[in-house]
């Protein structure tokens, strides 16, 4: 590995981590799309900032552009408050307009400005090591490493300082204002940090892929845990892994690094989406199927419980009475028999003692529907899952 390669990976990992932290809170606050809006809407800010500073990595430009990001949020909220359009439409209207203004600003000044829309939108990580920070003639490493490093450092220190406040205002805005933590300040603080991160990162990974870096790790982590600390840790892990793996994939394909980082994030999300132990698609579908069978079983047992007469409990009669398809009826009957809930004698189904207690318990639960009844029931249900 040559030194630019190491530097690119280092920058990618730092950018990814800096995006992942605000991303977690955006996802939890259901504001993930604000990152999309900000990342597009900062374009005019960047262009104007570039006119002033002539340097894409200047802190002034970052602040100016980040201000545009916050203005976007304020504008979106203002339109939402007028009630003229639904909330998502407000986002969808504001950012394309601001983005268009940015594109036109660039196009009108194309001759004087060394900046093009492709670069802003897509970024190019491979060039990052060539823009170096020179202090007193000495080479201090790539500029973007310093910029993103400081942003990451600020984000982490703010996270550690205000963790409690962020947590409470994210999950319970009412409680938060009651105990004197203003959710409004937290909201705009988070928005400012997100804007600054997006602006700092667009140079390296481009405006749209910033969105991937913010949302994807957090969404993936959210499928695996419901603990905020674990979620942040997992997001950081995913972001770093995909930054490094994405770099090597791009190296192998000779393609855009940011694109391949986003693709890696997508693959990781897909795997987790399918296979996550509790929230994954496969386990959700499996659980839904189990629940369906359980409901059928209980319906079946309740039905048996209601009918004393043998005629009503004859297998053929039951099938037409409950009106299930053959396969389903067979599954439910087998399941009930296997667990000693029913016994079949001369094609007449009757409840065993165990079945009777279970049915009465279920009935009790259905009638009362009290929470404390659920816990012991859960254990009973587990019987059938084996």
């Amino acid at each position: 590995m040559s030194s630019p390669q190491i530097e690119i990976q280092l920058i990618a990992a730092i950018v990814a981590m800096a995006c992942a932290i605000p991303g977690v809170f955006l996802v939890l606050r259901k504001m993930a799309l604000i990152s999309d809006a900000i990342s597009h809407a900062i374009l005019p800010g960047i262009v104007i900032g570039f006119f002033v500073t002539q340097d894409l990595n200047s802190p002034l430009l970052i602040l100016l552009a980040a201000l545009t990001g916050v203005i976007t949020v304020v504008l979106v909220e203002f339109i939402q408050k007028t009630g003229l359009v639904k909330e998502d439409t407000a986002i969808g209207l504001v950012f394309p307009v601001l983005f268009s203004i940015g594109v036109i600003l660039i196009a009108k000044n194309a001759n004087d400005v060394h900046l093009d829309v492709d670069a802003v939108l897509l970024g190019e990580l491979a060039f990052a090591p060539f823009d170096r920070l020179m202090v007193g003639g000495a080479d201090w490493g790539p500029k973007s490493l310093w910029v993103m490093g400081s942003i990451l450092l600020i984000t982490i220190s703010l996270l550690l300082l205000f963790f409690k406040e962020l947590k409470v205002s994210t999950f319970d805005a009412g409680l938060s204002s009651a105990i004197g933590i203003s959710p409004v300040i937290m909201h705009y603080g988070l928005m400012s940090i997100s804007s600054i991160t997006v602006v700092g990162a667009f140079d390296a990974v481009g405006a749209i892929l910033v969105v991937a870096l913010m949302i994807a790790p957090a969404a993936t982590a959210y499928l695996l845990t419901e603990d905020l600390k674990k979620m942040i840790a997992l997001s950081l892990l995913f972001s770093v892994v995909s930054a490094i793996a994405g770099y090597w994939l791009a190296n192998f394909l000779d393609a855009s690094i940011s694109g391949s980082i986003a693709t890696t994030l997508g693959v990781i999300f897909l795997i987790v989406y399918l296979f996550a132990p509790k929230k994954g698609l496969i386990s959700v579908l499996y659980r839904q199927k189990q629940q369906k069978i359980e409901v059928s079983l209980i319906t079946f047992l309740l039905h048996l419980n209601r009918h004393e007469e043998e005629r009503e409990r004859h297998i053929n009669h039951l099938q037409e009475h409950i009106n299930w398809r053959e396969v389903r009826a067979r599954t439910v009957l087998d399941l009930a028999e296997k667990n000693n809930l029913v016994k079949i004698k001369n094609d007449v189904v009757s409840l065993t003692t165990k079945g009777l207690t279970f049915t009465e318990k279920s009935l009790d639960y259905i009638i009362n529907n009290k929470d404390e009844k659920i816990e012991p029931m859960k254990e009973d249900f587990f019987l059938f899952r084996g």
């Binding site: 359009v85 998502d88 749209i208 892929l209 994807a216």
Partner: protein, 374 residues
């Protein structure tokens, strides 16, 4: 070229006519179908779909090697649909919310598309000069066959929309009721979504993946301000969309270095801004005027009520009183007294006011009405 020249050239210049017709038709179909997207709270779905279409274009090119826009758009359609249904899968089967799902699919598909595009660029026999235009769109690349395709697709969607008008409408406003009536809501839902995806894909070549969502939303959002009737809204949105397309093309053609997509978006944005402010029923301007008027009316009534309280204590209701016994707290100003006098509710003589029988009655009735309401 000035705008006037543009409109003169429009009738003689073939390319200009093709492009203008293309953007106008595009604006119309997007406005039409965008109305449904806006009303179904799926505004940002358009954004996600347009980004999600990018890998489809690249893959279609990789597989077939063709630059024919129909094949590329077919690829875009497939990948846009995959994105849409994945978003639904995420929101319905996991606890992730729709904003997360939209942002996730949008950025990941776009990233994957970029990966493929840069990969194609580096291929030895890369003949990919046409693929970049899907990022920001280039109306200038529209040829007659593209416009024909647009017209055909618009015609078909219009036909389908009219055919299923009743179903679309009822699903839009009361999904549960639609289900109880026995309509196949899933089918109608998929049909609307499919049409929206189709409109987006159609616009990619002209305005590009990044700005496509605005063309979908802006005309509909503007039209929404002027009417509460779905049919009128769809029609208005189509008109706004078509005008945005024509004016956008005109402005960008009359200036150097202006790509059409952003200009169309800005023109549509102006339509929205104008509608937000000046729409007579919902607009901000008239709403503010109404607020102010209500407020002064209320103040006037309050003053009258206070005068009534004083006048009640006297046998002669028209007994004159000094103006200074009214205080500011009760909303009395010179102009409000003047207004009360103009209404004929009080009479003013120098520094004194006296209630007229008409004013007394007015105040009395107002009071009665209040008790009735309570």
């Amino acid at each position: 070229m000035s705008i006037n020249e543009y409109f003169n050239l429009l009738w003689s210049d073939y390319t200009l006519r093709t492009i203008t017709l293309g953007t106008a038709v595009l604006g119309a179909i997007c406005g039409m179908l965008g109305s449904f997207a806006v009303l179904r709270k799926q505004s940002l779905l358009g954004d996600a779909i347009s980004h999600a279409a990018l890998p489809g274009i690249a893959l279609a090119f990789l597989i077939t090697g063709a630059k024919d826009s129909v094949i590329l758009l077919l690829g875009a359609l497939v990948s846009g649909l995959v994105g849409t249904f994945w978003i639904r899968g995420i929101t319905s089967k996991t606890h992730l919310k729709s904003d997360t799902a939209l942002g996730l699919i949008l950025s990941i598909f776009f990233g994957f598309g970029m990966l493929l595009l840069t990969f194609i660029q580096k291929l030895p026999n890369a003949n990919q000069a046409g693929l970049d235009k899907y990022l920001f769109g280039q109306a200038a690349t529209l040829v007659e066959s593209d416009v024909k395709l647009m017209v055909i697709v618009t015609g078909i969607s219009l036909f389908v929309m009219l055919l299923f008008w009743k179903e679309f409408k009822i699903l839009l406003f009361d999904a549960d009721y639609t289900k109880t009536l026995g309509f196949n809501t899933k089918f109608i839902d998929v049909l609307i979504t499919f049409l929206i995806v189709l409109a987006i894909v159609l616009g990619l070549q002209t305005v590009g993946v990044v700005l496509m969502s605005a063309i979908l939303l802006a005309p509909a959002a503007a039209a929404r301000q002027w009417t509460n009737n779905l049919g009128t809204m769809v029609l208005l949105a189509a008109v706004f969309g078509a005008f945005s397309g024509v004016f956008g093309t005109a402005i960008s053609a009359s200036q150097n270095n202006l790509s059409t997509g952003p200009v169309i978006v800005l023109v549509a944005g102006v339509f929205v801004l104008f509608s937000f402010i000046f729409s007579p029923k919902r607009g901000l301007l008239f709403r503010e005027i109404r607020f102010r008027k209500n407020r002064t009316d209320l103040k006037l009534m309050k003053t009258l009520q206070f005068m009534y309280g004083i006048a009640q204590d006297h046998e002669n209701i028209s007994h004159p009183h000094a103006i200074r016994i009214l205080n500011n707290f009760h909303g009395f100003t010179k102009s409000s007294l003047k207004k009360l006098e103009n209404e004929g509710w009080i009479a003013i003589h120098g520094q004194q006011w006296a209630m007229t029988p008409k004013g007394f009655k007015q105040a009395q009735e107002m009071y009665n009405q209040k008790t009735v309401n309570e």
